[in-house]
Symmetry: C2
Subunit: 215 residues, 2 copies
Amino acid sequence: MGEMVFRQVDLSTEEVDALEARYVPLTEAVRELVAATILSNADDDVVAEALAAVREVTAKLSASVETDHSGVNYNGAGRSWNWGNAGSGERNAIAPPIDLKTNPDGSTYADLVLGAAYEGPPGHVHGGVSALLLDHLMGVTASQMSRPTFTGTLTLRYRNPLPLGPIRVEGRVAREEGRKVFVEASITGSDGIALEADGVFITPTWSPSLEATQN
Amino acid sequence: MGEMVFRQVDLSTEEVDALEARYVPLTEAVRELVAATILSNADDDVVAEALAAVREVTAKLSASVETDHSGVNYNGAGRSWNWGNAGSGERNAIAPPIDLKTNPDGSTYADLVLGAAYEGPPGHVHGGVSALLLDHLMGVTASQMSRPTFTGTLTLRYRNPLPLGPIRVEGRVAREEGRKVFVEASITGSDGIALEADGVFITPTWSPSLEATQN
């Protein structure tokens, strides 16, 4: 198994928040650039100019890059950040714009709007994007914000096509057996329920919760 | 069910190829910008300048946008294109850089390298990204490049963590029953096999093959 390091970093929570505030607007802007790159009908000159500008921005941002992946970091105050996460990272323009909420009973949900970048069948959400959303939401649901978990088995039942636009994702822990956490989830779109999912998530033996590693 | 239109467009194959050649380098550049946005340690000034530049590029590209999603298009010569597809679209910087190959027996595979933008657990591929790759590869495998199919059920068994870096995705049709196509697939990474998957894909009743619609 590859090394999997959760890194403790010497930054105050205020410093982490400030870094996030610096990069979140850029991430949003890159997300819009992704959509424009798909949909534009611009001519050769405009696209060539855009290409040069994007490469210049990338070069300037890359001058200070020190690692080839973001990783999961946390500080001594219990603040953790996972900026590059493909399912939800605040600095990852690939991640669907998901803002997950937790109900008092531990169930979770998110309302989000999916546009051109998430398309599969014409006008509809890619089945793999739905899988990405569900894997992320179900993992967070299983972890209950207090322990790492890994996806064991994920079963997705595609009931109906999911139109692009507003969607709701919901999840809940059905039961636990030893290290296995059984999670159920669904995605509902403007035409009603589109997907149902069952997952088994595993709490690893090698790691106590993040809280415990900080003591 | 929402409308799902496969659009016939009056462009020659040469024109389609030229448009693709115009936008593919920009898409590659945006993909590198996504990674730089995750990994950069640039200061406020550099990030503010990057933000302004990205917004300017997006505005110029967006001036000619006419639709809110790309859709699936085809021309009279049988060339089809699906530029915005989240799993493989040539103009979608979110799509993993997958170049799918088909063996003579109809089985499929792709070798690709996944970097910072596809991370989940530290240093490893996000489980949902693996699901996106498998859903895409398995759908193409089921379609045999000649008929539309939709994901019915997808079951993913996560055997081992999948390190970022080079991976291989493979798929094959196990059997067919009426409108159901049963597909098996796997993902192998630098530590060996990471995921195995079974899927049931459905060929819709409402659509003949793309070839037939052009007659």
